[in-house]
Symmetry: C2
Subunit: 248 residues, 2 copies
Amino acid sequence: MRGEKGYQAGRVGRLIGASLGPGDPGWITRAAWDALENSPCWAWPVSRKNLEGYALAIAKRAGLQPPEGSLALDFPMVRDPARLASSWQAAAEAVIPRLRGGEDVAFLVEGDASFFATFGYLAQYVRALDPSIEIEVIPGVSSPNASAALAGIPLAEGEGSLAIHAAPSAVARLDQLLEMFQTVVLLKVRPVLDELIALLEQRALLERAIFVERVGAPEQRVVTDVSTLRGERVHYLSLLIIRSHPAQ
Amino acid sequence: MRGEKGYQAGRVGRLIGASLGPGDPGWITRAAWDALENSPCWAWPVSRKNLEGYALAIAKRAGLQPPEGSLALDFPMVRDPARLASSWQAAAEAVIPRLRGGEDVAFLVEGDASFFATFGYLAQYVRALDPSIEIEVIPGVSSPNASAALAGIPLAEGEGSLAIHAAPSAVARLDQLLEMFQTVVLLKVRPVLDELIALLEQRALLERAIFVERVGAPEQRVVTDVSTLRGERVHYLSLLIIRSHPAQ
């Protein structure tokens, strides 16, 4: 089917944010699967540290291969706004000729495209360069939901509440988060993990915390005794779920 | 395949929380699809107001039909803890004979099983009655992610943060939520929608709010001018996304 449905002479292709879920190929939705099968061009983010790209690896684990001529786009894992802006600009410039040529481009997203993902930036730059291009987002399973499923715990129930926060900026307001929310999920914990373990221990909350790394990937790890992680350099894709006020 | 893979003489069946996403059958994951196809028994929640059940309707929209002898379980939409407890107990007692008979039971979940869902309660009651029963949770797309995809906005980016809160209990702390989080998602807004519109208007945040009702269902509605909803009785499954501090 590929290359037939996704291509039509005379029309402009769609840019599709195809959320693949956080790792397990079983978590790919039927809609994302169709987008992968029917788009004559894929694009996916790579970085110097991860030349294959985490999102492409998910598709490959599902048994799919990128169509010939697909695009590996350089998304460096840096914070420098100027470098980021120039890589998004370059990525947008790389996909636009394919879209203008009438091909749908499926951009592979690890997790969910609206949730701490780079797809939003790409879409913004594409829209700025060519507002006529249609952009579609296919939602996906996000890492907190997958991690909770794996750990067999709810994220929130009833009249409850859930905070999801990048860990480095959460440290200074951790008490407030723990007081206000039924569950607190901290993402990207690596740079502050030891600090978080100490803070949770002081508050006697360590046993209410669960650590999950690379959920759904072959290297996935769930750690219920979080104190054992002290001093360890964990993977970038790792999170803590803290059930501060579990429902009865 | 159904009834072969999912049944094995002499073993106890698994209770599977099959998250179907919030409405669009394309948002069903491949793993949930397999669970539906291979489980000889389905179970799904119904209430007096929704006799068919929202979750079953999603599976039917996907073209699937429940296996004969499947179980519609009464989950009344009430807050009375005693009535809730007795319905979960009855639900657990209804599925256990099937599990003990060696059948896998797929419990159909609207949205994601760990996210404001009733599956956790059912699992708890089943576990209490028979700790030997294996429980598996298949994660799914949740309504905030699907709503953001549809609206073409991110929920959170970069070092950002996201609060998800049942709306009635959020009203009293709305300022704090809006101040602390990049994005605030309020669920179950119906009983407090007028109040929320007034509060957002006073804070000049109305144009940063988007209303989404029954995302993914045929009756789905996205309203960007939220003020037009004043005085309207919206559906139970409706939410507001407020981008209080959108990233640059």
